[in-house]
């Protein structure tokens, strides 16, 4: 079902290794999401996936196709770049939204707004 057997052994090992490592990092990231106790802690978990996991898996893919098609082209780079650029947006917005909600609901748990002191009960 696949032409992966056409890979030379070194490449095959490298591809498999990178892929497994990437998958493992991703899994660890998700475990973090599963295990970490607070939202702000969990906010860190996906970054393992987006940095470690994505880079490793994409490297595996690049290597694989580069060897298979004998062309040194890495369009997976785009995935890495895009993920790196877009994830912060999500996380920043989510983190701030969470912060706002916490300040509104349980102000004692989170730091007040840097700058002027926030009212405990804004409404």
């Amino acid at each position: 079902m696949s032409h992966l057997t056409d890979l030379p052994a070194w490449a095959a090992i490298a591809v498999c290794g990178l892929l497994l490592l990437g998958a493992a990092m991703t899994l660890i990231g998700s475990i973090g999401l599963l295990r970490l106790p607070t939202f702000y802690d969990r906010l860190h978990a996906p970054t393992i996936t987006t940095s470690g996991g994505t880079i490793l898996v994409c490297l595996a893919s690049m290597l694989c196709f580069a060897v298979l098609q004998s062309r040194w082209i890495f369009h997976e780079v785009l995935i890495i770049v895009f993920i790196t650029v877009t994830t912060p947006v999500t996380l920043m917005l989510l983190g701030q939204a969470s912060l706002y909600r916490h300040r509104f609901e349980k102000p004692q748990d989170v730091p007040v707004k840097p700058g002027p002191p926030a009212r405990a009960d804004p409404d």
Partner: protein, 93 residues
């Protein structure tokens, strides 16, 4: 032999990625905050994207790359829409 090893390791990688997706789903279901669910969904998207890349390696076919690329570039749009909704109660002001 190599063939078998390759297949097994890719399969293992895919199962790990699927498990990662399952954990993300757990976070979606468990919450407890809305932001946790959104974070879970975002992670689910990224895991799914990696799953696709892995699938591309497994089938040695590059046509699945576009989907992964689009997740990478545009997958965050729904997440930030959620985030903005949580923050402001509406997403376009």
């Amino acid at each position: 032999m190599t063939e078998l090893a390759i297949l097994w390791s890719i399969l293992l990688a895919q199962v790990m990625l699927a498990l990662a997706m399952a954990f993300a789903l757990y976070r979606i279901v468990k919450g407890p905050h809305a932001q946790d669910r959104v974070l879970g969904l975002d992670t689910l998207y990224i895991n799914a994207m990696l799953m696709l890349v892995a699938f591309g390696i497994r089938t040695a076919n590059t046509v699945y790359f576009e989907t992964a690329l689009i997740i990478a570039l545009l997958g965050f749009v729904s997440s930030i829409a959620f985030a903005k909704f949580l923050m402001r109660g509406e997403i376009i002001e």
